[in-house]
Symmetry: C2
Subunit: 342 residues, 2 copies
DNA sequence: CAGATTTTGAGGTACGTAAATCAGAAATTG
DNA sequence: CAATTTCTGATTTACGTACCTCAAAATCTG
């Protein structure tokens, strides 16, 4: 049988109350006694039964997720995962609230963050927008004692406790690697579409992509970035125009959202002549079909389910002052071809 | 506040004892009363607090993992993950025992399985070897009421309850896809190394690889499979010989273990002329370095940590008669390039 | 060394569920 | 309708931890 608090008490020759004081960092224990108890804990290998502890505490963790309300599939997937986490709430002793804010709107986001100050939750997960007012709002929450993690989109240099998302420079490099290798020694130009160059993630992806592609095949010509605001229709217009201007385009990399527009543009192309190599981000029902239909060659993905669950784990751990196992919380960059669609 | 058993009792107008009888499928409840209680459960949205339930039951799940004792890095990684699960045991109410058996030895494996019959654990996870005696031994365990999941290597057609591993045909197809695309329109021959064609997984990978590579580039010539018994030295010898015989070889696919031998053979090659395209399985410290050193182009991976944790979840769930969420337990085929090493 | 203060002990209740006992009510049987 | 069987209620204990109170002991102060 695994040791309990009673065993600690016996091993240390103290009472249960003292053990409890030590375990829960309550005052009123001499340093010497504390050491004796801690020694006993180590000796008999006691591990607190979190289930029982949570039961006794009937602790719940009020958490808030703030995400942009754009209608792109990735955010829809993220929203879905948050909803599922809300369903699981009673089992995980969390109480999760989801707040939607307009996309790319730093002001609205900062206001949403500040609205939490009145009744601050234990933790907040937020899809960050890179702006001073957001920095400041996060700082205010942190000062209140609220744990803040950025989700999907980071805010380096801010007071956030953790980032639950991928390394976007590495993601860009991975895309560049695939593009370079898939195109082999071919020459020609490569089109790149982003949501907005004002978003840190998108800048990072572009940086990584350009660097890596240039390493592998310097003869490829990376065209100036097209900005879509993550709007499928804009993606469609921009890509169609580009393809019309240069039908011999060798590759397309969409590092932002709006893949539906990309797919639409490619579908039209298909019948006429061979299509360019296409790499995009985020596995959704649309990109999944496009992969299977040979309209897209590779999809880079970050699993929103992992991100949400990781964010929750980290928020709870940091709230309890428990260390986070970084390796476990690292979000991977998944590569999907039509053959390994999970 | 979330509803408790007391709330069910009140809502259904019955006593706590009756609710308990219904919840835990104990006899002595009229169908009509049972229905009333179940209706109330649904109506008020009761979800059993598993933490409290386990606490009350003080249930522990005795589990056994049986794995081959080969010294290749993948199995070492698997062993490591099992050890970590053993460390976590007290927290997860499991009691895990690890049994090592000689690799590729059906007789020894069957004996190990049969040895459990005396004091059968709740669940067994086993890296299967495809042989009639293993089928039979698994059947006997199942009849005893023990849950059996195959790990890494499946035994289709046997009585196992679940398989915690990847779809190896899809893994082979993914490798074929990458090889075909990375080689572009090039012609030449592709060498394939396997551990043993007697192992189902390896046969599956070869099937998928050949199919897919042939679809993409039929001019590539897939050479007859080399069998290494997953021994690094054998891999080194076989590959070196093959490379000496045909220095113009376009690609190498190692679908088995023994990557250390492959890497050694490639290191020698490096200085002389360009090396072939290389794809292998399982991310280990060796293959990781080889990726970073540009000795290997892509690694397909199955995460042993995921497999072990999934196996434990499934064993516990099946032991409790709780349904398993298949989507959650699907083990992905990860693709790693040097750029997305997690 | 008296008095104040800090430290420790003993014991209880609570969390939500499981599991048991025993008595009483209802339904079924002959 | 009495005897039996089946079903249901009321109550209790237990799981391991948290947290509270009150009293007793030890230590520190001047």
């Amino acid at each position: 049988m695994r040791p309990t608090v009673h065993d600690i008490a016996e091993a240390a020759g103290v009472s249960l109350a003292t053990v409890d004081r030590v375990l829960n960092r309550r005052p009123g224990v001499r340093a010497e006694t504390r050491a004796r108890v801690e020694d006993a804990i180590g000796r008999i290998g006691f591990v607190r039964d979190m289930a029982a502890a949570n039961l006794a505490k009937s602790r719940i963790y009020p958490l808030v997720f703030i995400i942009p309300n754009g209608d792109n599939s990735f955010m829809a997937g993220l929203r879905q995962e948050i909803e599922e986490a809300i369903q699981r709430s009673p089992l995980e002793r969390t109480e999760i609230q989801r707040i939607d804010v307009p996309a790319f709107d730093a002001r609205a986001l900062a206001e949403a963050l500040d609205s939490l100050l009145a009744d601050p939750p234990v933790g907040v997960a937020v899809v960050a927008v890179d702006a001073p007012e957001v920095h400041a709002a996060i700082g205010r929450l942190r000062e209140q004692g609220t744990v803040v993690v950025t989700l999907v989109s980071d805010l380096p240099g801010s007071a956030r406790d953790h980032f639950a998302g991928v390394d976007n420079i590495a993601a860009g490099r991975t895309a560049g690697s695939l593009m370079g290798r898939f195109l082999g020694g071919r020459t020609g130009s490569v089109a790149v579409i982003a949501g907005s160059m004002l978003v840190g993630d998108h800048r990072d992806r572009l940086t990584g992509f350009s660097e890596r592609l240039n390493e592998i095949n310097p003869t490829l010509d990376i065209l100036p970035v097209l900005e879509s605001q993550d709007d499928p229709d804009a993606v469609y217009r921009l890509i169609s125009k580009r393809l019309a201007a240069d039908p011999e385009i060798a590759g397309i990399y969409n590092l932002g959202a709006g893949n539906r527009g990309l797919i639409r543009a490619l579908t039209g192309l298909r019948e006429s002549h061979g299509r360019p190599m296409v790499i995009a981000h985020e596995l959704t029902q649309h990109t999944r079909h496009a992969l299977l239909d040979d309209l897209i060659d590779a999809i880079l993905n970050q699993d929103p389910g992992h991100e949400v669950r990781s964010a929750i784990r980290v928020l709870k751990a940091k709230a309890d002052g428990v260390p986070v196992i970084d390796a476990q919380e690292r979000i991977r960059i998944d590569i999907f071809l039509k053959d390994n669609l999970s």
